[in-house]
Amino acid sequence: MRVEQLTSNQIDRSKPLTFIFNNKKYKGFEGDTLASALIANDALLFARSFKYGRKRGLIAAGVEEPNALVSLEMGGRYTPNLKATEIPLYDGLSAKSATNPNSFDLRAFIKPLHRFMPAGFYYKTFIKQAVWAKVEDSLRALSGFSEAPTEEDVDVYDHVHHHAEILIIGGGVAGMSAALEVLKSSDNERVILVDERSRLGGEIFNEFSSDEQSLKWFEEAVADLCGFAKEQRDRFMMLTRATAFAWHDQNYVEVLETHATGESLSSDGSQVRKTLHKIRAKEVILATGAHERPMLFEANDLTNIMLSQSVRRYLNEFGVVSGKKVVVYGNNDSIYQTAKDLHSSRIACTVIDVRSAEPLNTHAEKLKQSGVKVLQGYAIVKAYGSDKVEGIDIALATHQGTSWEIIGDSESLSCDLLVTSGGFNPVVHLDCHTGAKATFDETSQAFLPEKERANRQTCGAVSGVGAWQDTIIDGKNKAQLTLQSLGVVSETNGADLSENHANYFNVSEFFTPKSIINRPKVFLDLQNDVTTLDVALSIREGYRSIEHIKRYTAMGFGTDQGKTGNINGIAVAATILGKTMAEVGTTTFRPAYTGVDFGALAGRENGGLFDPQRFTTIHDSHVAKGAEFEIVGQWYRPWYYPKAGEDMHQAVHRECLAARTSLGMMDASTLGKIDVQGPDAREFLSRVYTNAWMKLAPGSCRYGLMCNEKGMIIDDGVSTCIRENHFIMTTTTGGAASVYSTLEMWLQTEWSHLDVHLNSVTDHYSTVAVVGPNARNLMKLLCQDVDFDRENFKFMQWREGAVCGVKARIMRISFSGELAYEINVEANYGRYIWDQVATVGEKYSITPYGTESMHVLRAEKGYIIVGQDTDGSMTPADVNMNWIVANNKPFSFIGQRSLSIAALSAENRFQLIGLLTKDAALVLPEGAHIVDRGGKSIGYVTSSYFSPILGRSIAMAQMQGGLSKIGETTIVKIVQEKQGLKEIPCEVSSSVFYDINGERVNGND
């Protein structure tokens, strides 16, 4: 319900808003969050818990909330798993619980089975795959999260890079104070202040009612900061609704700023929903505050059991409260402040302080004087209620030695809202992202950040300072230290903190008596339904490290990352293990601190901008021809050119036969090309290729095979000797970048004395391959100044000439086994040459073909494709190419030494062979396994096609000891639709299927 207007309220009651939650209409005000507006409407039920289906409501008011997960909006703006506490209300908002609390729930039946679902339940039950497969779908539906989006996100997300001298994370009192100090004490330093909430101020609103000075300070500070942001915008940026979620090395911080959650934005892309700020700061001031942790007792998860500071925040900042008869329970003085605020708003409340009445507590005494009932030295052992909390059982508690005990009988007390405070957890998450360890501080019973770290300061509650006046001083002091570190000021004049600066951080030890731990339903992690008994069980089963206990119980694995519950879990583990908090330690904090939208991570790099697209200069001709494309190493390569009515199989059939019987043409421009120049170019090629290069004359080309130092094939291609000290190496299309980089590495790191220069020239040339028995005839028509006579222009030679008037290098090389020429021209002439070849070639019914036909043609000839027929574990011998290995070169080529290792010539190595199915029409699927008589895999198919010229299927495969099995029959297992697993008998053959003697490269004229 709403209480009357308080001075600290940040809602605008003159601006009512309407919204829909779980299909019901509600009213709220500008300035509300979805959570506060729902409290105002007494709609307190948010979720069903993940494991037991228990009803859950809000416990917190901010990012730490574990229960109130909702999905926002529908369609292209649907966003799952947001926290209701973090959604600013807007008119027309429509949200739904992640798990509908009101619907019939299967888990309600599981409820009585609590004791059968301890930690490890799913693991132990479903370790047998057969059981898991049957229930997986229905269990996943109970995951406790919103459904995944089904439509494409319609919104636009941005990435922005910033460089700043100082980044301040957290815009509460500490962060504001630090920001003001650095801005006032420096002139040029760039400063960024970010805060996850929609307004600056943090917890200051809770102070307004008790201290007018806080209001005055806040108003002035906000005015000053806004002034700086306006007048010095080139050096000061202030972001709200901006969460620093990851802190990487050297102060690289990622901040996600939300401009709008579900609010309508124009869908033309002109409005950005979220911006991912990538900030590189010289210094970081961490002012991230602290999260409150709850007290532990039985059924502490009932609806309307909330955190004390959050209830204060709801009351002071939003003017809402969810009960009329409140019990405030805790182990520190913050509970008295909460009770005082509630009492001032004329809400009945009782305080239960687990600490004894000795020594005298002035806060307690004051409150008693104003008529509030205060019970000291009592503990809550149990809460009860059906839909929400209706009452509690309390008993006397004493602290003996180092542990708590509950003594005596319990008595009951009724209430409709239970507020607890078990102390405060400094938000050290970000600090720990880069490896800092939080250390346990006995006085504040909290894990505090490391005191000293390079280029980082902490101030305010994150470093254990609680009182707001001291927080201002702390912020100033740390700002000065930061400026000193930057060299802006030479001396600092820090003020001392007051004696009571820790304030609420003065808490009693964790209230974890065994009599509480051993009760059922004492929840530690509300999102994952982890109880004290789960922690106890995991320890009984042998887990000792808190990291293991966390993983076994799933404590802290939810979207809240255990922000409220984890430290209590550590305390419970410490009690059971008989260790101190420091000995048990914390789990590791990793990015991201909160959920981050995939859209924000992708930014603009999706759709057409996801990956660079590369097109040859001939591309438009391919499009005009109706080509289908495939992407190879970012290149759009024609895959095949279907004619009207043709499917891929028919098109490839036609294209292959054209190249074999008359004439085909192909765009080969995408092959990687590296220009190799220098007096030592020859020597260099000899070192990186397995074969000899010293005698290759200008005018000639040579095929080369490249290995890595392990002796495994990494690339192949033809290199052309342009002149004595100048070669052009071609690489596979996909391997161009990595080969170039590897070659550079050798030259720069090992062989800097070699005078060789490399340059990537892939894009400099367009290459049109003319392939088929009529290739020579066509070339004669296209180019008059080159002698194409078969004896004068031999296979593996090149000539320079004018093709249709364009200066060209013509290589007589072949990747099809046919007579073929590759015409290389300056890239921009590519399309002209292609079109000329196509026109003139009509005489021979020239047929353009794509990568699919190229694959068929090369497979017929047994030519390998590195990366398809090899997999990084194949030596030249394994692919039957020992003929290309020159072991007598003066320099031991890359990989040569490894090839002499005995294991690489073992007989049962995987070797490249051919497979001919007994049923000539059956094309084996690539990847199918060759099996021995026992059904064990002894190899697999790497390339498989139907060969039009042979009229049968052909396949290349890797097979253990395959080269010695040629002529034998073997079995390939395949899965056929409707027929299941089938065994296909095949003959092991040479991987060369067609033109075995290699006569066709010379043509048949």
Binding site: H248, D249, Q250, Y252, R280, G435, E709, K710, S741, E744, M745, Q748, T749, E750, S752, S892, Q896, R897, S898, S900, I901, A902
Partner: protein, 91 residues
């Protein structure tokens, strides 16, 4: 995601411009055929995987494409020195 000073560009740039290229000072044996399989395997496969400061190679792959050496802590990623190949790193 740290910053690296490229000794060739003489600028401190984001890590995403660079690619790591393994431990430094792994010299290729001068006469590979003359050494044992074990010694060769040591060169090809075995690395110290040092915890703390060590020298490693990086390449300014999206920049000048030059390889150079970096003395970096494998624990904190702190970089003590960068050096071009052939530069004196003893000081």
């Amino acid at each position: 995601m740290f910053l690296i000073h490229c000794p060739y560009c003489n600028e401190e740039r984001e890590q995403e411009e660079f690619s790591p290229a393994g431990e430094a000072f792994i010299a290729r044996p001068v006469e590979p055929e003359g050494i044992s399989d074990e010694a060769w395997a040591d060169y090809v496969f075995y690395r110290t995987n040092h915890k703390g400061y060590h020298w490693e190679q990086w390449v300014h792959s999206n920049g000048c494409r030059k390889y150079f050496m970096v003395e970096r802590s494998t624990i904190t990623h702190e970089i003590l020195k960068v050096a071009a190949f052939g530069a004196d790193i003893s000081e």
